[in-house]
Symmetry: C2
Subunit: 450 residues, 2 copies
């Protein structure tokens, strides 16, 4: 639903809620796609959400809405809901969504809900919960179509009609041997175009791309994206087929990871927090600003240290913003390119020195251009060529160092397995500020005291 339509739906629902037009609302909540309702829910108060939810009488619609709602919205909504009612809805949801939700609840509450579910369902959920949340095991769906090699196409289609009615991704059929090891894959399309008596063994593809349960979800997403597949089978350490990760979950992962990287680099938390309370938003942003405050105090101490030079040439102060700004900006450019390149796999960690050397060269070239410009400007303004040389050299060295630090730091962090995005923001920006100011005053003191 385009933004236009969301807005219209939201306005309509709000108006009907004010009027208490339950008959009309009843029709809307039961007929609108759950994905659209989920967007609308984000902009409603809790009591409005509850009113709408109570009007939904189709249990499947409730389950779809649960799957589609933003995590925080859902957690608020179920806070005061009866456990029996929740469990009834959970039974209708895909297992991976149930596991996601229960993973966010207190152990007691999760256990109470599991106890209310059928044994088969709760066991599947518990299996998923046993894997790390951000791995293939944590995001996989345990419902898939697995058939033996000797099965014929006709039997496979019959199985689709009887056993595998609720499978979410019925477009691939997996072929397993007697130990449930994954040995092949067939697309539903192949199945319908071969003779009914054909055995799966003779038409299956055997070079199957699969992932291990402990593979990081970002890596899983990269594989699905690279090979243009709709679902990737997940196997345990013995190559036993245990689940599949579908492309729609991969899309969510790719978006979330991109959002996470963007926000981390800006020191603004990990998830979009606009729907959160004022105080919570404030608290999330506090730490990075503290790093920047401490960095600012260090820059203050550096400048204080050079007070005598500053006293002699008071106009040195007026160039502080431009020298910090040029260093900071090229540093941000560089570290952003490197962090994103590492995230998308377009940049190889192995090429660390190649990348850093190239960035250093770019920083030097751009520093030369803008240093020269500023040097000429300063000389024209104060008719003092030594000042021109000072600010010119300061810009050049600040930009060269910023480009080097901006590329080196994220690559080194990635190498020692620290998330480059989270480390890069505060670390790079603050250290470049301090280095720029220090170099500037050091150069000024040396040159202007000649």
């Amino acid at each position: 639903m385009p933004v236009e339509r969301t807005r219209i739906l939201l306005d309509t629902i709000k108006r009907l809620l004010r009027r208490g037009a339950t008959v009309h609302l009843h029709k809307i909540v039961n007929k609108t796609h759950a994905a659209d309702l989920a967007v609308v829910f984000q902009f409603l108060t809790l009591s409005e959400q509850e009113a709408l939810f109570d009007l939904t009488d189709n249990i499947e619609q409730k389950a779809m809405l649960f799957s589609e709602l933003e995590q925080e919205t859902l957690l608020n909504l179920i806070e005061d809901m009866q456990a029996e009612k929740i469990a009834e809805i959970l039974e209708q949801m895909p297992t991976d969504d149930v596991a996601d939700l229960l993973g966010q609840l207190s152990d007691d509450r999760a256990k109470a809900l599991l106890d209310l579910m059928t044994k088969e369902d709760s066991e599947e959920v518990e299996e998923l919960l046993s894997y790390d949340e951000e791995t293939a095991g944590g995001i996989m769906l345990p419902d898939f179509i697995a058939l033996k090699e000797e099965t014929t196409a006709k039997e496979a289609i019959e199985a689709l009609q009887k056993e595998y009615v609720d499978v979410e991704m019925p477009f691939y059929l997996y072929v397993v041997d007697d130990h449930d090891y994954l040995v092949g894959i067939i697309s539903l399309r192949q199945l319908v175009v071969v003779r009914p008596e054909t055995k799966l063994k003779s038409i299956m593809a055997t070079d199957v791309v699969s992932v291990r349960t402990d593979m990081d979800q970002e890596e899983v997403a990269r594989i699905v994206a690279r090979y243009n597949i709709l679902a990737v089978p997940v196997v345990d350490e013995n190559n036993k087929l245990v689940g599949i990760v579908t492309v729609d979950d991969v899309i969510d992962i790719i978006r979330e990871e991109a959002t996470e990287d963007i926000l981390k680099m800006a020191g603004a938390g990990e998830g979009l927090i606009e729907t959160q309370s004022l105080l919570k938003s404030t608290r999330i942003r506090l730490p990075w600003l503290l790093a920047s405050w401490v960095g600012g105090v260090i820059a203050f101490l550096v400048i204080s240290h050079f007070e005598s030079s500053l006293n002699k040439f008071i106009y040195l102060a007026a160039f502080i913003p431009i020298i910090m700004g040029m260093g900071g900006n090229i540093g941000t450019q560089t570290s952003t390119i490197v962090v994103r390149g590492l995230a998308t796999g377009q940049l190889d960690l192995k090429l660390i020195w190649q990348v850093v050397l190239k960035e250093l060269a770019i920083g030097f070239l751009l520093g030369l251009v803008y240093g020269l410009l500023l040097g000429v400007f300063a000389h024209l303004r104060y008719d003092l060529w030594l000042l021109g040389v000072t600010v010119g050299l300061a810009v050049m060295s600040s930009m060269t160092i910023a480009a080097t630090v901006g590329s080196l730091v994220p690559m080194v962090f990635a190498r020692i397995n620290i998330d480059p995005a989270v480390a890069t923001g505060p670390f790079v920006t603050t250290s470049i500020d301090i280095l720029s100011v220090f170099l500037y005053f050091q150069i000024a003191t040396m040159l202007l005291n000649l």
Copy 2:
């Protein structure tokens, strides 16, 4: 293929190329998945790429490689290739990939290649080229399965076996009326589980999510992601079915758009440019740094304007970095949250004042905390409470204004249909720098001259 395996493959290929081991290389290039080869190609020289490409004798493998290669790599590779050879490969590629490639070539060259293709293929490509590249029409695939309402399930499966052998996404069948208007959709799975004589009309879903040819690709991606579908049908202004957009293209769009947004916000171009030459990289980054240079000169002029205050209280200079830094950082946090929120649809443009007011409040709160901290620090250091009040107020006002500007600017840009990401980076950062410095010295001049 995980990064580990890419590296091993790359090393192997490089070693074999040095040794001239063509027999071995021949086997590798013809057996490796084209998506993996495409990654390896990024790290090879042009002559190495040509050597490998010449060893590929399977035309379908060549076509898949063309589809998988990064655009720039592909353009370099085909630069000196014979038109006949290229056209032969294009015939084997999905139409949307051919259109993407031809759209990047000179009109003469594209026309020459189209003339060499079969009439049917070239017409399809030309149709795609007539749409704007970043719309549903520009990214759609014109190959889809369209059947009439009266068709039976058995006939539909027969059509799959005969007419629609090469369709890339055979999992949805679209139902059209006599005017080719889209009226329904059936999944392949439904088709195989109903009786053979069932008419499509009676099993098709009629509430089809479809998009118009002129819809922006980002919007198309949001729809596919929101409704968890594998392909979305594209219709023209008359609701005539003309193509489909598949989920694998949507994944590429989501990744590209995220990369684009991240890089634009950092003023580092639109695409990852690490594979580009040194001079090209430098040129792409030059303009934003110019904006930042001009901003720095304005900040210089602002400070010069307050020279007499600075002369009186020389230590004012030492606080410039922290006041700029705190404003700049909270501005980046805020604008990043807003730009990303708008991109993912989690933030509604309609709520502009709600968002800006909240950010203003956050900026004020955080400004209060860090302003107080700095004020106390300054007072303790210089035993001058008026200086403490000055820098404290400066941090507070700078952070409040930065949060306001950082949220208002991207929302206003989005409202007037200018890409918020591209406008936000240089505009927000530079104006916050200037405003912070101005407010600081204005407050200082007022308070310290008392």
